[in-house]
């Protein structure tokens, strides 16, 4: 019997929509898990994914991808490729492995919620593939660092990190819980698949893959490129969901969801991707600066697509977002390096004379704002006063992004407000707007500083904080290059 062509059966196989008669729509799609935004029943049935795929094709494609990456892994396992990688680059992949793999499993929860509570059969079909994708990403990105565990105990944090209260993990978990672990189906499609996966995963999975291949880390490059091929497919659940919302008069609600999650994603990726690209990637291997990646892939490509759908750029674009491209990840980098015992990788200062020239060229004014501070740190390293390069207190963190509150300029105050008698600190107007747009969602969550002041961290010292964060001496971060990042500091290192 001849096989039917896909186009002959695809719509019949995926469009299993029907009107309910034995149960109400609210019982099938509870608002808390699905959220209608006032758009009901058949209005969702026009949902049409741009990328068509059958289960047979899915399995065939995924098996091929897994064959590819696991064979690269087993080949490279017999080489000394990892040992020869730059120490800063090793830190970039350790940061990635701690921040990403377990949240991939969280994302599979979000995808599975869409696979059950998405309001169109075609969407539920796509989300089923998305659920399997995210499980695959979790598995692969835990297995690869597991294979490196014998070389370096910091790789243990690929699995451990998300089970701790390390400060960066609190920031990441807060974002990912908000975006997909604890989100309804429609908001997940807008916030995870459209906002985050169409924009920011490109940056981490293609931008970093590009750098990986220049560094010579074929294994990591192949792994995250393979993952991005799945992301590129299942991220397309966002656009049809957005179109249904716009066509049913819910553009303002969709715009608000995008604006909220674009900002939250930006803050975390400035921390994770920003410092990896501009400080941890060896200078000779940097393909573009973080700002250039952002300008090309987010400001141009993503926003063009965004505007084509009739959406507006977020309200904070000119006044807050574009200025932060110039400074925020430089501040985060200095904080991560100075508080290095609190992270599970070894931060690379990345401020050798040649690197400082590159930073000043890419970010005019860097020397005046950040170079001067690195001068003092460098002097302390040179004169053997390493104790002066460690912190003795905590930074204040933002109650929205949970990242230390940094300043682009002299004398800029944090935004301090009160909600139901609780004092809150925000790094900027946008984080305050995000938090205040859903206070009931955020107001029971304590920042690490709130926890410190509430007595959750004992003893109330830096050592107590490290213990609370799950950091053990064998993984506590130290300078990636043993302080050899300028000519003079070699003396101290020796």
């Amino acid at each position: 019997m001849p096989k039917l062509q896909r186009r002959d059966y695809y719509d019949t196989a995926r469009d299993m929509n029907w009107a309910f008669s034995y149960v109400s729509e609210d019982e099938v799609f509870p608002e808390e898990l699905s959220k209608s935004f006032g758009i009901h029943g058949e209005q969702w049935w026009g949902w049409d994914e741009p990328y068509k795929l059958t289960y047979r094709e899915y399995v065939h494609n995924q098996a091929g991808k897994d064959d590819g990456i696991y064979s690269i892994r087993s080949t490279i396992a017999r080489s000394n490729l990892y040992d020869n990688l730059d120490a800063g680059w090793k830190s970039a992949i350790k940061a990635h492995y701690g921040a990403i793999p377990v949240p991939e499993y969280f994302a599979s929860i979000g995808e599975a919620r869409m696979a059950r509570f998405g309001r169109a059969a075609a969407w539920r079909n796509m989300a089923t593939f998305g659920t399997l994708d995210e499980c695959r990403h979790g598995q692969a990105q835990i297995y690869f660092p597991y294979c490196l565990l014998a070389k370096d105990p910091q790789f243990d944090w690929a699995h451990k990190a998300m089970h701790t209260n390390e400060w960066g993990v609190i920031a990441a978990r807060s974002l990912f819980d908000d975006m997909f672990t604890a989100n309804d189906a429609v908001s997940t499609a807008i916030q995870l698949t459209f906002t985050f996966e169409t924009g920011f995963t490109n940056l981490q999975f293609l931008g970093m893959a590009s750098d990986a291949l220049h560094v010579g880390d074929i294994e990591f490059g192949a792994l995250i490129s393979s993952i991005q091929t799945d992301e590129a497919r299942h991220s397309q659940q966002g656009e049809p969901t957005l179109k249904i919302m716009i066509n049913n008069g819910r553009k303002a609600e969709a715009q608000k969801m995008v604006d909220q999650m674009f900002w939250r994603s930006w803050k975390l990726f400035a921390l994770l991707t920003g410092i990896s690209m501009d400080y941890y990637t060896p200078l000779e291997s940097r393909t573009m600066s973080f700002k250039e990646f952002m300008q090309d892939w987010i400001c141009r490509q993503f926003m063009d697509q965004f505007k084509d759908l009739g959406m507006n750029v977020p309200w904070y674009w000119e006044e807050h977002f574009l200025p932060e491209l110039d400074w925020v990840h430089h501040a985060y980098h200095m904080g991560v390096w100075f508080w290095r015992p609190t992270v599970w990788w070894n931060p690379d200062a990345g401020v050798s004379p040649a690197e400082r020239d590159w930073l000043e060229q890419k970010y005019p004014g860097w020397t005046d704002r950040f170079g001067k501070l690195w001068d003092v740190i460098g002097d302390n390293v040179r004169t053997g006063q390493i104790e002066k390069t460690y912190p003795a207190t905590l930074p204040i963190v933002c109650n929205c992004c949970h990242i230390p509150i940094c300043s682009p300029s002299i004398g800029k105050a944090p935004r301090i407000t009160t909600h139901n008698g609780r004092k809150l600190n925000f790094c900027c107007e946008v984080c305050e707007w995000v938090w205040k747009s859903q206070p009931e969602r955020y107001d029971t969550h304590l920042s690490i500083v709130d926890r410190f002041l509430a007595g959750h961290i004992q003893p109330p010292t830096l050592e107590g904080a490290l213990q609370y964060m799950g950091i053990t001496p064998d993984v506590a971060g130290n300078d990636a290059q043993a302080y050899v990042w300028n000519g003079a500091s070699r003396l101290a290192a020796e």
């Binding site: 501070l373 003092v376 930074p395 230390p404 301090i416």
Partner: protein, 81 residues
């Protein structure tokens, strides 16, 4: 005399810090307590007097925290004069 947590910047530094002071500390002591987390660590030492700014005004060096109206976890800035 009681422990009194503040948010503080030393002018020119890049990050806001949690700095515990005592409500009986005067502003010269507060300035020193903030400076010890930034000056000589990231901000270059100047050997000049320091002052505390709160709500946009400079507080007298002899004024104590308790007298100043500063509340726990309020933000202050310390700078070289």
């Amino acid at each position: 005399m009681a422990l009194f947590p503040l948010q503080a910047n030393f002018r020119g530094d890049f990050v806001v810090l949690l700095v515990p002071v005592d409500d009986g500390d005067d502003m010269s002591i507060v300035a020193d307590k903030v400076a010890q987390h930034a000056v000589g660590l990231r901000v270059a030492e100047k050997g000049a007097p320091k002052c505390v700014y709160y709500n946009g005004r400079e507080l007298p060096s002899s004024m104590t925290v308790a007298q100043s109206g500063i509340q726990p976890m309020d933000w202050i800035e310390v700078a070289y004069v």
